[in-house]
């Protein structure tokens, strides 16, 4: 390699190689990472094209026959698909309507607690459910809600009622789903709102008190407006996730008697994909979900920007 003294790197290939040499230690560290992302992230992205093929393991991805949009047509023609789509949207919307405001309200309530140690204790406790997997929580709730040995039903029968089959009754299952889902995530969800609230300039509150503002008015005219950009951002994320209705939770709590109300896109993808090995169809559903999700993300971002004067993701 030519001596570095007096070496003037020329444009193009020479400067590229020069940089490579000079920073070689850094690039060496990067190489495994780049290979990793190529293999585990970008290659599966390419693998999505099996949604447009009739994939067979023997033929591999390239060898499988191209069928264009046939898989998607089969999908939409399948009567079961729309009930699954409906379940996904219904559950997501319910989560959104109830579960989205919940952490905000809780954060505001946290803000009204003046005893620091009490507040810290409550907050710490409220994060605990989020640390548990839905396998654990599903197990716990199946015990608590059990019609025979569960606490809830024992209380109900004690008060003279009849035991409710919470987890196998179609009329109850979705409510239980939403409630336990919020129970798990509401504490954790307050974190970002509490952080924003704590960064609000105290002087604003002080001057409002001088003007005679009560606590409720302070919330309405100071706290909430300051939270708006964060709320808008979180709303955009939540809306774009509308086709993710909570696979982890549903998969660990559902059972055959409630499929009709709780089978969602992701559980469907799992069942026909991994269990039935209909790889192409399953990938098609996944792709459909991602494309719609992206479209909704762009749409909601656009709308929120319009309302909020530019407070979107981009």
């Amino acid at each position: 390699m030519a001596s570095m003294i007096g070496f003037r790197p020329r444009k193009g290939l020479n400067s590229f190689l020069f940089n490579l040499m000079k920073y070689r230690h850094y690039y060496i560290i990067l190489i495994p990472a780049i290979i990793f992302f190529l293999v585990f992230c970008y290659y599966p992205m390419y693998g999505v094209i099996i949604a447009f093929k009739n994939f067979r393991a023997i033929d591999g991805i390239l060898g499988s026959k191209w069928v264009g949009l046939d898989n998607f047509q089969n999908l939409f023609n399948n009567p079961g698909f729309f009930s699954i789509l409906r379940n996904t949207v219904v559950i997501s919307l319910l989560r959104l309507m109830i579960g989205f405001p919940a952490p905000i309200i809780l954060a505001l309530l946290f803000n009204e607690i003046k005893h620091r140690y009490f507040l810290r204790a409550v907050q710490s406790i409220s994060y605990l459910p989020y640390f548990m997997s839905w396998v654990v929580l599903g197990g716990i709730f199946s015990q608590i809600l059990s019609p025979t040995t569960g606490i809830v039903n024992q209380a109900i029968t004690l008060l003279g009622g009849k035991a409710i089959y919470f987890l196998t009754d179609k009329r109850w299952f979705v409510s239980i789903l939403i409630t336990t889902g919020i129970w798990q995530s509401v504490g954790w969800g307050t974190i970002i709102y509490v952080a924003v609230i704590s960064s609000i300039d105290p002087e604003m509150y002080e001057s409002s008190v001088i003007e005679g503002a009560g606590r409720f008015q302070q919330v309405r005219y100071i706290t909430l407006p300051c939270l708006m950009p964060t709320i808008a951002l979180m709303l955009i994320f939540s809306c774009s996730g509308i086709l993710n209705a909570g696979f982890d939770q549903i998969f660990n709590m559902y059972n055959a008697s409630v499929y009709s109300v709780s089978d969602i896109l992701d559980t469907y993808v799992y069942r026909i994909g991994i269990q039935n090995m209909s790889y192409s169809l399953s990938t098609a559903v996944g792709l459909f979900k991602n494309i719609v999700g992206l479209a909704i993300l762009l749409l909601v971002n656009f709308i929120v920007k319009g309302i909020n004067e530019g407070n979107g993701i981009w």
């Binding site: 990067l30 990472a33 992205m45 693998g47 605990l128 004690l158 009560g214 991994i274």
Partner: protein, 295 residues
């Protein structure tokens, strides 16, 4: 600011505080309830109801669960996976984060974009599943550890942190002839303990709670992970086949029932998390703040 409290405020505060207490109870009670069941004798478990503390305590359920090789083996597998997976992930992501924090690195933005792009788009379940299959990682610990080695999210978080460390340190070390490896491990890493601790905790909890990958990639029960073991026992009702001797004990002649066995398994699974929780919680919260507020 102090002002005299009006009646309305006092009412609001008392309701708020009461609500907080009820909320806290609702978050803790389920865990205590399961703990109580796991420690109960069959007689107690049947009539425990709303009480939290059983009159008679027995460790029968625990000894039965641990005696069956299945859970014990799953525990070992999970610990191995968590420790190794977390260590590799933390080091790998930190090294990349350090490299990307060097502002004079050529093609830095392009490479960063290359990594970050994967946070928004993914191939989906089936292509990833087929990939693992074709790599020959099915039914092995590799399938659980390798896909998680590099995470764009951790890399970005760590990079942001390292960027705030003084550049002079690096420059001085470079002038003295240190290699980037040396700088990274002997200078930057010790200074980055807070963010590394955060990532270690996030990764560890993630590995411990991880069940779906083990479920689809691991077929041998002896290689299975604790969460999936728990799932088989509590949710998919494979209790009888996995813990031998169950049929004999159903009548309650021994010191456990199906219910207490399930409860004991749950407690064993969440045990380490709950123990680690008080310290872990602080870092966990910091992590999410560092991630979301920086964007």
């Amino acid at each position: 600011m102090k002002w005299k409290k009006g009646a309305g405020e006092i009412i609001f505060d008392s309701i708020n505080y009461t609500f907080m207490v009820l909320l806290s109870i609702s978050m803790i009670y389920p865990f205590f309830s399961v703990l109580a069941i796991s420690l109960s004798t069959p007689v107690e478990a049947a009539k425990l109801g709303l009480k939290l503390i059983p009159m008679e305590i027995t460790m029968g359920a625990y000894s039965k669960v641990l005696a069956s090789g299945f859970i014990a083996q799953a525990y070992v597998n999970t610990i191995i996976r968590t420790v190794i997976g977390t260590a590799i992930t933390a080091l790998a992501c930190f090294s990349v984060a350090y490299v990307l924090s060097r502002k004079d690195l050529p093609y830095r933005s392009a490479i960063t974009l290359f990594f970050v792009f994967t946070m928004f788009f993914s191939g989906g379940l089936i292509p990833s599943y087929l990939l693992i299959k074709s790599l020959g990682m099915m039914n092995s610990m590799l399938a659980l550890i390798v896909p998680g080695i590099y995470s764009a999210w951790y890399i970005v978080m760590m990079r942001n942190y390292v960027s705030t460390l003084p550049v002079e340190l690096e420059e001085a070390a470079l002038i003295d002839g240190a290699t980037p490896f040396y700088i990274m491990f002997r200078i930057m890493l010790p200074l980055s303990v807070p963010i590394v601790a955060t990532v270690v905790l996030w990764s560890a909890v993630g590995h411990w709670n991880s069940w779906f990958d083990a479920m689809i990639y691991i077929t041998d029960n002896s290689k299975q992970v604790l969460q999936v073991a728990l799932r088989k026992i509590v949710i998919s009702e494979e209790l009888r086949s996995l813990i031998p001797g169950m049929d004999v004990a159903m009548v309650g002649s021994e010191s456990f029932t199906e219910q207490t066995l399930k409860a004991a398994t749950i407690i064993l699974t969440i045990g380490p998390i709950v123990l680690v929780y008080p310290f872990a919680q602080k870092y966990y919260v910091k992590g999410i703040l560092m991630g979301s507020l920086k964007g």
